[in-house]
Symmetry: C2
Subunit: 348 residues, 2 copies
């Protein structure tokens, strides 16, 4: 049996056409999602395996994407460490007892994934037979340690990330303790997801681009390396490392040993390929804002991404960040079709 | 007479030590600034030449920086184009009638600088004799066209810059009209500042790093090139082009023809020098958040910036972005002294 397109591309094997999935493909831009969201709080959806599985399947069935990504969020695993998490309407996540001192860090627990997030593992178990029927693989995921630390310390989103950086810069021992705990949590969580049925995993390092290249190398990269090493050694599934704003340290991303490097739209994919070499797959990177433009303006941009990637082997089409809530569904659908048909177009 | 350190570095001439000034060096972190701010609205301060001049001089006298930067803001020049600007306490700037349609763009006027911002030109005229006494040169500045367009279209700050990008991507003719008007405004404004006495000018393109390299090249760079060409041809003073998040298109920054390229902390200065070559000066790039750390953690970071820049000729020390309001003044003062003394330290 041949590998599904997405998994083949993760391993840089040739595919019949470029595979595509979209970050936050199950989300508010879709009326079918909003219909479910109207009946549940965000945390309820994440914690209800039947609901989370249904949401996960929506874009597979409605858009024809080449991979499903588990419906979950990066922050609920922090609850079992001792953080009080909520999602406020229109304001995003909030942590009521953010980490501020070394004592706060010492008090953090590192629960097992089965104890901490059984609902997510159950969601995966429900999904696999459904997705196998459709021939579509399932991606599990976790927040990466820096991004989790940023939320845990700032207490939510942040413009300047002053507190997390100040701890990282000014208290190296406390920082190491925190990152070591998060590394153990994330590593165990991803391995458990694969054991439950995930066929690839993505590490989301959404805020890592706030760091200088030197700080990334010294204070973040070693922990990412540990996670990826452990997940690969224990499971063998492909690992995707995605960060935004990583143009300044592309060459360091290679030393994460990730199978796939996900980049945002700020990265020229030709430059990425030049720096990363041929022995890694690249995922990305259309600007999600492009989907607000008329299709005539979207199409050349999508073509440009494919051309920059320089051929099909080892490229997974995606956006450079998550789909925004007001994105027109019809444009998303046309994008998926266009990427699939691109390889079959006559060369102009 | 030898050039002041800052102006010599702009022209890549050797200096006795690395010159330093700091973006937003006259600002809320300083009690002397807050004392004036308590008596005036922000726009009043900008529009009162005596007050603006006094604020401009504060960091020169209190910190010993190597250049003064005009106290003003990038947005007041938009008022004369027809935009209604205000600064809301704690929420930053707001434009009550943001640009949304091609008709809005057609209606924009392009007033002369003398008509539009006479208070800023008068501030410069007041400042020059004061600064000449101190032997410190004066930097004028303007917002760059993309960043001004972003504020004018979004109506203030923005997380995703969806509206400005959608116009840029979807309505190229309207975009060109808008950028052409802004280019004329900015170019005239900077030339008038130099005629009033500014000895260098900086273009602030604070939001340009939200763009992909391709969009920067196609939709922003040509206008920046026009401005820099005109200012240099008409005045001969050094032009600094500063953007944040520009790692993905460093090589294109060179083709702005700016004398000095300002970069944020996300850029490794060794990489910047490699890409930009030796015939341009580089300004930057300590992470402003580093100033919240204890001095023992700040010092090696400051040394690293100087070492990355690879020697004194053609490097102007600065932060990677503006000083934040809560920054400890004492750390800022120590930073200025440390940079000045660095060249005189015995090599370890």
């Amino acid at each position: 049996m041949t590998l599904p397109r997405f998994l083949a591309a993760c391993r840089r094997q040739p595919t019949d056409t470029t595979p595509i999935w979209l970050m936050r493909q199950a989300g508010r831009y879709m009326p079918e999602y909003r219909a479910i969201r109207a009946k549940h709080s965000f945390l309820e959806m994440v914690r209800s395996p039947e609901v989370a599985a249904e949401i996960t399947l929506q874009p597979v069935d409605l858009l024809g994407v080449d991979a499903a990504i588990l419906f979950a969020d990066i922050l609920p695993p922090l609850i079992g460490m001792g953080l009080e998490l909520d999602y406020l309407h229109g304001e995003g996540p909030v942590l009521y007892n953010p980490i501020r001192t070394p004592a706060d860090i010492d008090a953090l627990r590192v629960p097992s994934a089965e104890e901490n997030t059984p609902f997510t593992l159950e969601t995966i178990r429900l999904l696999r037979p459904e997705l196998d029927q459709r021939g579509v693989p399932l991606i599990g995921f976790s927040g990466a340690p820096f991004t989790l630390a940023a939320y845990a310390i700032e207490g939510g989103g942040s413009k300047h990330h002053a507190r997390v950086k100040a701890l990282m810069m000014g208290e190296p021992a406390a920082w190491d303790t925190l990152m070591t705990k998060l590394t153990a949590l994330v590593s165990g969580y991803l391995v458990a997801q694969v054991e439950a049925g995930a066929q690839a995993v993505q590490l989301f390092d959404s805020w890592v681009g706030q760091l200088s290249p030197g700080d990334f190398r010294a204070h973040v990269l070693p922990y990412v390396q540990t996670i990826i090493h452990e997940v690969r050694a224990k499971t063998g599934v492909p690992v995707i490392y995605f960060g935004t704003d990583t143009s300044g340290f592309l060459s360091d991303l290679k030393s994460t040993s990730a199978d796939v490097i996900g980049v945002d739209w700020r990265v020229d994919l030709r430059a990425a390929r030049r720096v990363l070499g041929d022995d890694v797959a690249i995922q990305g990177n259309l600007d999600p804002i492009a989907l607000f433009a008329p299709w005539d303006a979207v199409q050349p941009r999508a073509a440009d991404v494919i051309q920059q990637a320089g051929g099909r082997a080892g490229h997974i089409f995606n956006l450079g960040h998550g789909i925004l809530p007001e994105t027109p569904v019809d444009t998303v659908r046309r994008l998926v079709d266009y990427v699939h048909e691109y390889a079959h177009q006559p060369v102009p």
